[in-house]
Symmetry: C2
Subunit: 379 residues, 2 copies
Amino acid sequence: MADNAPLDAPLDASLGAPLDGSLDLGLDGPALTAALVDFPSVSGTEKPLADAVEQALRALPHLTVDRYGNNVVARTNLGRAERIVLAGHIDTVPIADNVPSRLDENGVLWGCGTSDMKSGVAVQLRIAATVPEPNRDLTFVFYDNEEVAAHLNGLGHVAEAHPDWLEGDFAILLEPSLGEVEGGCQGTLRVFLHTEGERAHSARSWMGSNAIHAASPILARLAAYEPQKRVIDGLEYREGLNAVRIEGGVATNVIPDACTVVVNFRYAPDRSMEEAEAHVREVFADCGVTEFVVDDHSPGALPGLSHPAARAFMEAVGGSAQPKFGWTDVSRFSALGVPAVNYGPGDPLYAHKRDEHVHVDKIRHCEERLRDWLTARLP
Amino acid sequence: MADNAPLDAPLDASLGAPLDGSLDLGLDGPALTAALVDFPSVSGTEKPLADAVEQALRALPHLTVDRYGNNVVARTNLGRAERIVLAGHIDTVPIADNVPSRLDENGVLWGCGTSDMKSGVAVQLRIAATVPEPNRDLTFVFYDNEEVAAHLNGLGHVAEAHPDWLEGDFAILLEPSLGEVEGGCQGTLRVFLHTEGERAHSARSWMGSNAIHAASPILARLAAYEPQKRVIDGLEYREGLNAVRIEGGVATNVIPDACTVVVNFRYAPDRSMEEAEAHVREVFADCGVTEFVVDDHSPGALPGLSHPAARAFMEAVGGSAQPKFGWTDVSRFSALGVPAVNYGPGDPLYAHKRDEHVHVDKIRHCEERLRDWLTARLP
């Protein structure tokens, strides 16, 4: 989970070598998670783990396996009416003195990637190994470089080169969500709002015009803005419009001629990119903005929970879905026309942290719920 | 003139050696100005010029000469009822391909220091050499390092070590003022106004509190502030309250927890430092400022034009006085209890610029007015 990362960055990293080049899919979910954590795969170094995943999957006769770079895609081909995609990234953030893994007496497994998201990958591998005849065709996607810059993301590369590999009626990303279903994701738009003035010595300020003062209506508009809560498929999305940076000033005795407010708009996924940008332009229409520059823009993804496969999944796993606020790879599936949700055993609050951990019960629970859903007799 | 510098910084500098180690005070004002310009004395390298000034003054029997560092002070001791101080700095900003000096066919002398302020120093030296029996006792002050950091300023060093050398009833700084009298100077106060918030991921902005938005009332107050015009001794001072810098932001996906607005208050010299600070505190009293830090504060200087010596000077030089907005060494005299004004031949708009110049008529005019005033029969 790249965008939803907590604010703490890992402090340092050390890469161990895998103890063995292979993975034993006969291990139970918690033990397989531990084996995956002990098989370091910091972003950029995923090849050995991708090799091991490919090797383990090729040993399963009910699957066909494709590989593109360090991305591995395996599929059943049973001619079922629906196809479900189970996807997860195999990379982690840098290790922070938290490998190898450690299981404590309370059933908590500690280590880099326990939550984000080797426990989810373990569940994928367990389903792949133990459900040879699912009620819906299955596609398993294991990809690299999720924790780094978006252009490196393996899922994006596969979507670009082999979009057919990702086809399906519904996708589940096994990102950490504490066993809750998180639907869709919000869009994110970043704009630079510039104001202009005219330089002058601050002792003769009336000779110039102050660009920082000119930004006052922008901040007033931001401070007064009331973000919307929009309900989609029963999920309430909370939008936000925020200054994330402000910069202005030349020298302490000069009236500044330029000021920039960087604004981030997080918006509910029923707004299109065009609508989101138009909304922000409208908010600041009369605020003296001299230049409006779109710096970055990623669309949201609708939760898609009204799809029959999604409804059946929700019934099978129980509980109620939660909206996803941050931007995730769910929207890559959405862009391919595949509704997608996050559903994984990890705890997102501990992702990327030195004390990252997962409750082994959550791993078992998640695996069982998925197996039940994928083996139940269909009406 | 340090504080009133135009915004252009000199682009490069090259130091020539003086053609000769001596100064000929028999030259007329424009020629002496040219000789001084051709005798480079960028801040920090004034010693040869200070030596030459000292040597030239010691040759005048009607003066006693003191030296402290590269600062030279010469005085008449005629027991007159009043004492006038004529002061000027001998350093310049770095040379910008504009030395040696060049006199054009329109009577304009070009070169580094022509305006700021070797033309003024030439007038000082001419008065010293040609007015052996002035109607008021005279003190001539030549000092170094005016164009650099305030703590290096030679006038400040003399004021600290030998305040008696600077005693007088009235002081004239021959800083560039285009032959107009500029009275007093404004005070300048710089404060940091901090606002605080609470960090959160910008996708979940309601979990935090935005420090940039919290700065909105500060900018609104600045934008709405109506600076005062205050009349003192017939001079109208225009105050100004301006943001000169603003900074806030952690990362583009983080709600910022801190923002700082740097505000500069330029105030009329009838406000004390305490009053000025109290005024700024009051302006921002209800703006959500979590910390108010005084970063820098220099008091103003009253014009002192009601003093009899100042009135007589004004009558002699004619014209009307103008207020001085920037901070100048006038306030160092003011702090010593000596009312002071700026009055020099240079054009302040061209100080520190590559095309710095002075009209030779202004040099002659300034010298003549001072000589007339200092040799007139007193009532």
